[in-house]
């Protein structure tokens, strides 16, 4: 590589954005060119990460990776980072509210340099707010053990995180008929004739035109930097009216405290408020939302409903139990995200839910869409009517065997790894916790490129003996 890594990265990202847009508009793209650009971005990021992210440099050093141009194969073999790295901080830092310690950790796991001021935060919520003001956006996920992960994004990565999906999801929605055909045509023309960044600027300014027919209903919190909440919050910006099930920000302090217990009275108050909203007032919140949905319906407005399958199931069950007559306007849509597990760990029966949505809300099957993503990546994979989650061309997906070695093939099952060229402020060579089957063949829906068919969380071997020791304990 001759160009400066930052320039090479920018060049590759610009190229990939164009390909994303092309793929959105035509359902196909130049896969070879996309691969070359992804390789270019990976090489540039490798150098940037190694120079600026101490923990990534350590991984390279442990693997004996000292060269400056290792190639994608070498990166995949030796430098993929498990998503656990984003919870590699000592839990004691959060227990003791040692945010200076957390800042030191952030500076090792990411290419961010928090100020001393944010280290003086009194609690976790304030810490996140102070970092946000410094241009460091921490996206968190809860973790069943209360060991939260924090993914640090700088302004550039944050913009990619919020905007990348806009380059292809509206067209995918249009393909499913959610957007009227004249808007689809206009969108397609725009995709084919203007630069991606201009498209995003237009989306910023006029995006509401696309979804102005819709009232948005979001089964999540109106604020808070957790992955699924952020998708809802972002989508809400483009709807005419936005209604949140929980009209309050999601407090990370509450999320952790609910599992690990309150460390201080102030924390207990936040936990109590969280539990009041989500447990005590749950039914009242459902009915508030249902009553608003009813109004949309009476006004003849279309609705777009977003949430996890679990919450949507409960809401539909509530409609059915109270025999509410909610027939939403034709063209109304449901968008799922966040996985198919319920709180007790069982899988939500998909067919049952789809049937219930039709029965209780009057939404047709082809207006039900789903996205697959994770906190650590810049983009999402939309499920097509054929049941495949199509991998957008900016992601290099890798399927890893149990030893975490890459496997080749057009139909392979294993742990999903993703090389994300747009992760600039943290290592974007990620090993996820998901087990997937990936195919690479033409899809009957017409979209090209690799797609993911099935997703499971963990291997299901019969556990022997003391192998499954207590995952929630620290030592």
């Amino acid at each position: 590589m001759t160009a400066h890594p930052d320039q090479a990265l920018k060049q590759a990202q610009d190229g990939l954005k164009k390909i994303m847009v092309q793929w959105a508009a035509t359902k196909t793209c130049d896969q070879d060119k996309a691969l070359k650009l992804r390789e270019q971005a990976a090489s540039a990021n490798y150098l940037r990460y190694r120079r600026n992210i101490p923990y990534f440099a350590k991984v390279c050093s442990m693997a004996g990776m000292n060269g400056d141009n290792p190639g994608l194969d070498q990166i995949i073999e030796h430098c993929m980072i498990p998503d656990d790295i984003f919870k590699s901080y000592p839990q004691g830092f959060l227990d003791d509210r040692d945010f200076r310690g957390m800042n030191r950790w952030l500076a090792r796991v990411g290419d961010v340099r928090p100020s001393k001021a944010s280290g003086e935060a009194r609690n976790m919520d304030q810490w996140l707010d102070l970092l946000e003001k410094e241009g460091i956006h921490l996206v968190f996920s809860s973790g069943t053990s209360g060991n939260m992960s924090f993914v640090p994004r700088d302004e550039s990565t944050w913009r990619h995180f919020l905007k990348n999906s806009l380059l292809y999801t509206p067209m995918a929605a249009a393909d499913q008929g959610v957007i009227p055909s004249w808007k689809k045509l206009a969108l397609k023309l725009l995709c084919q004739n203007i630069e991606p960044d201009s498209l995003l600027s237009l989306a910023d300014r006029y995006g509401r035109l696309i979804f102005r027919d819709f009232d948005g209903y979001f089964c999540n919190f109106s604020g808070g930097a957790q992955g699924i909440q952020l998708v809802g919050q972002e989508l809400a910006k483009y709807c005419r009216n936005a209604f949140f099930l929980y009209d309050a920000p999601l407090s990370p302090m509450a999320v952790r405290g609910v599992i690990r217990g309150a460390a201080a009275p102030e924390e207990q108050a936040v936990i109590d408020a969280f539990l009041n909203t989500t447990v005590h007032d749950k039914k009242a919140n459902y009915h508030r939302m249902l009553s608003a949905l009813e109004k949309s319906s009476k006004r003849g407005r279309k609705a777009i409903i977003f949430g996890t399958p679990y919450l949507l199931l409960e809401i539909c069950q509530e409609v059915k139990a109270h025999k509410l007559n909610l027939r939403l306007k034709k063209g109304s849509a449901v968008f799922f995200g966040g996985g198919w597990k319920s709180f007790d760990g069982n899988r939500i029966p998909e067919e049952e839910l789809v049937g219930l949505i039709g029965e209780s809300l009057g939404i047709e099957r082809n207006f039900i869409a789903e996205g697959y993503s994770m906190t650590e990546i810049q983009g999402l994979m939309l499920r097509c009517p054929e049941g495949r989650y199509h991998v957008p061309p900016h992601f290099e997906t890798v399927i890893l065997d149990p030893e975490l070695r890459p496997m080749d093939g057009d139909d392979v099952t294993g742990t999903l790894g993703i090389i994300d060229p747009f992760a600039e402020s943290y290592p974007g060579f990620l090993i996820t916790g998901d087990h997937v089957r990936r195919v690479n063949e033409g899809c009957p829906c017409g979209r090209s490129g690799p797609a993911i068919i099935s997703i499971a969380r963990s291997p299901g071997r019969e556990i022997k003996g003391c192998g499954g020791i207590m995952a929630k304990i620290n030592a």
Partner: protein
């Protein structure tokens, strides 16, 4: 004849295991790596039906097609048999060879093994304990006599053994020790011993308790006042007690292959009618015990009331019947948290003994570093490698009170000790755990100092030195030891709880200073460094005198 019995054990040996194996075509690797394993169904041998290998392959293909992503179907049921498959491991490279060993087993229905005829069971319950010891003696004699068969089975099963060769071989060698009648007697006499009497007496019948002083209930005092001479003479009661055998279900685990054997032995020693579930991955010990008992004492009440079977965990057709009220008096569950939890939830009316998933740790005080570092590391490594670090008592985390440079030297010495183990007994690391170790190294413990022994880039063993709290999910139990440096050893105390089975400690002064608090926090074994793996007959297990929990204590 009676004298002969005493000489040889419970009865004269007139059949042998090899004959049974030959007659029923059992326990040898036939074509296509298929081995046929028998069940014991209340004293009767049940051999599996014949099955076509293609049908086995097709069944596994079908199971794989419907299995969730990432799942590895290890069990299938055909019409009249069930089959387990285990990956074959190349013993030279200690890596998966890409082939499978298939164990074909019969099927059974729950009704066949449940015990509801109490008059028949009482024959077992009233069998003198001495005869149990003689049975063990006979069994021991059979195992000695059948050494050639045992050797061939040891060599056959080593192909799928996840334990290193030496551990696997020593497991076979230990069979005789496990059923040693002298140890068995000590175990029963100490475990069930109360009121200063030997436990075996309580097992054999009602034992009067000479020092027991009965106390009256208020009713007796009122009656004495109201009825005068006609009052019940409660003072005349001579209290007695009996350790009544029970009907037991043992759901065993395979992290150490001796566990099914030990669990069955507890049922035998308490003269109980029992069903033993062999674990996936260690079905051979159950089959060996079945054949051994049939060769040694086919008509013994123990044999006639013992069943040793397998079913895949969670199979409702079996478990609904087994967990129903009054199906068993005791259910013993070893193993994974979800298995233990599932049984506890479903067997609400039966007393459930759980040998929960636990782990061991070591605590080393500053003074210990005054001695030889190599000796210290050798003792600590031995504590970690109990059952190749898979036992519940194996030390996973070493808390050390040391300066940074001392801690580093200790970690390096530990690495050298592990390397010596690797040379003497090459480790097998399952591919899943190869991945897990990579995850831990590059993920949650990225900030640790790693001291790894590897061969051709592949992890064999290692030490990671950290100076902070770690999530227990980082424990991989594959000859990977986490060393946590502390300024004060007492800082480790908050991390000790009932999930910690064993703490091995050095030096002695530190053990004496801290052991009461450690015990109060729920730890079961507090021993000197280097002794985590040692045992003695009559010791407690997970805070219980296990045999005492398996019998039903009766008052007379």
């Amino acid at each position: 004849m009676k004298d002969d019995l005493r000489e040889e054990g419970w009865r004269l040996i007139d059949s042998n295991m090899q004959d049974l194996c030959t007659k029923y075509d059992l326990l040898h690797s036939g074509e296509n790596n298929v081995m046929r394993l028998p069940f014991l169904i209340k004293g009767s041998l049940r051999a599996p039906s014949r099955v076509n290998f293609d049908d086995i392959l097709q069944a596994f293909d079908a199971a794989e097609r419907v299995a969730p992503a990432g799942a590895f179907p290890s069990h299938v049921r055909l019409e009249k048999v069930q089959v387990l498959r285990e990956p074959v491991i190349n013993r030279k490279t200690m890596r998966p060879a890409g082939a499978y060993q298939y164990s074909v087993m019969p099927v059974f229905s729950p009704g066949e093994v449940l015990e509801n005829d109490f008059s028949a069971i009482c024959e077992l319950y009233n069998t003198p304990f001495q005869e149990i010891l003689e049975l063990l003696k006979s069994l021991g004699a059979v195992f000695v006599q059948e050494q050639a068969l045992l050797n061939s089975l040891r060599d056959l099963t080593i192909h799928t053994a996840q334990l290193p060769d030496q551990w696997h071989n020593l497991g076979f060698d230990a069979l005789g020790m496990l059923i040693d009648p002298h140890s068995a007697k000590v175990m029963v006499d100490k475990d069930l011993g109360v009121w200063g009497q030997a436990g075996s007496r309580f097992l054999d019948g009602w034992v009067e308790l000479p020092g027991a002083a009965p106390l009256p209930a208020p009713v007796h005092l009122i009656a004495a006042q109201a009825l005068g001479a006609k009052a019940p003479a409660w003072e005349k009661r001579k209290p007695s007690m009996r350790a009544m055998p029970t009907r037991q279900l043992h759901i065993t685990a395979g992290n150490a292959p001796q566990i099914p054997f030990i669990s069955a032995l507890r049922a035998i020693l308490t003269k109980s009618a029992a069903v033993i579930k062999s674990p996936c991955g260690a079905t051979l010990p159950g089959a060996l015990l079945s054949l051994g008992l049939l060769a040694a004492a086919p008509d013994h009440p123990v044999t006639r009331h013992l069943s040793i079977v397998y079913w895949p965990g969670g199979e409702a057709a079996v478990e609904d019947a087994f967990f129903a009220p009054n199906a068993f008096d005791r259910i013993v569950v070893w193993g994974a948290p979800d298995a233990v939890e599932s049984v506890k939830k479903r067997a609400l009316f039966t007393k459930v003994l759980t040998f929960n998933p636990r782990y061991g740790v070591s605590m080393i005080g500053r003074e210990a570093f005054a001695e030889s570092l190599e000796d210290l590391a050798a003792a600590a490594a031995a504590d970690s490698l109990v059952a190749n670090q898979k036992a519940c008592i194996a030390s996973q985390i070493h808390y050390i009170e040391a300066e940074e440079d001392q801690a580093k030297s200790y970690a390096q010495a530990l690495q050298r000790a592990l390397a010596a183990f690797d040379r003497a007994s090459p480790n097998y690391v399952d591919p899943f755990f190869v991945g897990e170790i990579k995850r831990v190294m590059r993920g949650v413990l990225i900030d640790g100092d790693w001291f790894v022994n590897s061969e051709e880039g592949r992890f064999c063993s290692g030490v990671v030195l950290v100076d902070r709290e770690i999530p227990l999910s980082a424990v991989t139990m594959q000859r990977m030891i986490i060393v946590r440096r502390l300024d004060r050893l007492e800082s480790a105390l908050p991390y000790l709880h009932s999930g910690v089975s064993t703490v091995s400690m050095s030096p002695l002064s530190v053990k004496e200073r801290l052991r009461d608090e450690i015990a109060a926090r729920g730890v079961s074994n507090i021993v000197d460094l280097g002794h985590s793996g040692t045992m003695f007959p009559g010791m407690s297990h997970d805070g219980m005198m296990a045999l005492s929990e398996l019998v039903d204590w009766k008052n007379g």
